[in-house]
Symmetry: C2
Subunit: 160 residues, 2 copies
């Protein structure tokens, strides 16, 4: 904390732009999903993780790890998604403390129906403005940062 180095001009420039993007991007994603599917990005992401899981089912803890959320937060969100009919909770046979969350047919349909618009937003706002080289650089840089921010690789548990 007494590491009293400041940022160089080049570093400061990059940092300011980076933090601006970090603040703005979630709003863009959330707005589109909210408007078109009445889902937050976190809700969509949770459903998407389930849709990619074997049997479209995950333990709460596993899903919390994949979505980088706390268990209490996930529990609340899953409760809402369950009430809306997208997710079904069931006790886990192997460990009776645990709860499995599974995608319902309606949930699967919701994800499939929502994905194109979301992907379109990502393309329009992030991918399309960048060149192929930019995308590679972005991949490399974010990979480096993830090693710092998420050492256990919980978030990126699924392969590149």
């Amino acid at each position: 904390m007494t590491d009293q180095r400041w940022l160089s001009p080049a570093e400061l420039s990059a940092w300011k732009k980076f933090i601006a993007v970090v603040e703005l991007l979630p709003g863009v994603l959330d707005s589109q999903l909210q408007r078109d599917a009445d889902l937050t990005h976190f809700e969509y992401f949770s459903l998407a993780m389930l849709s990619e899981a074997p049997d479209e089912t995950l333990r709460m803890t596993a899903l919390a790890s994949l979505t980088n959320s706390t268990l209490p937060r996930l529990s609340h969100v899953v409760s809402r998604l369950e009430q809306r009919g997208y997710i079904l909770r069931s006790p886990c046979a192997e460990d009776r403390r645990a709860t499995n969350a599974s995608l319902t047919a309606a949930g699967r349909k919701k994800v499939m129906h929502t994905a194109p618009g979301h992907v379109g937003t990502v393309l329009a706002n992030v991918i399309s403005p960048l060149s192929a080289d930019d995308v590679n650089d972005l991949d490399r840089i974010m990979g480096t940062l993830l090693e710092k921010l998420d050492p256990e690789n919980r978030f990126q548990a699924r392969g590149a």
Copy 2:
């Protein structure tokens, strides 16, 4: 929305990592500031913007633009910071609808005292892991994205 292109493997890889960082980074920044200064990143950023402004004073609208927030949000946050003695509100002479927000002496001290730790966190988690080339690439890529996400350049009103 019927632009039914999907993401290429390279794009998908970059996107997954990027979104992971976007989700994780705010938490890292907020945690450090909360722990060491009892401030959210947004509160710190607001104070920092004021500290760089002429007379350490800005109209609410101008500050909202710099911090990329809505006016209601800013109004609430400024109310809290005012109660804590870091900011003073005063009516604007030129336009009696407007409100000026100024840094108090305590607010200035708070920013000066908080900045080093915050910069240290940024260095440790974002800048240090990257090479000089990485930083340049990051600057270029985020600049490109900002043109899409913030066309009016409100967020980056101050020079690079």
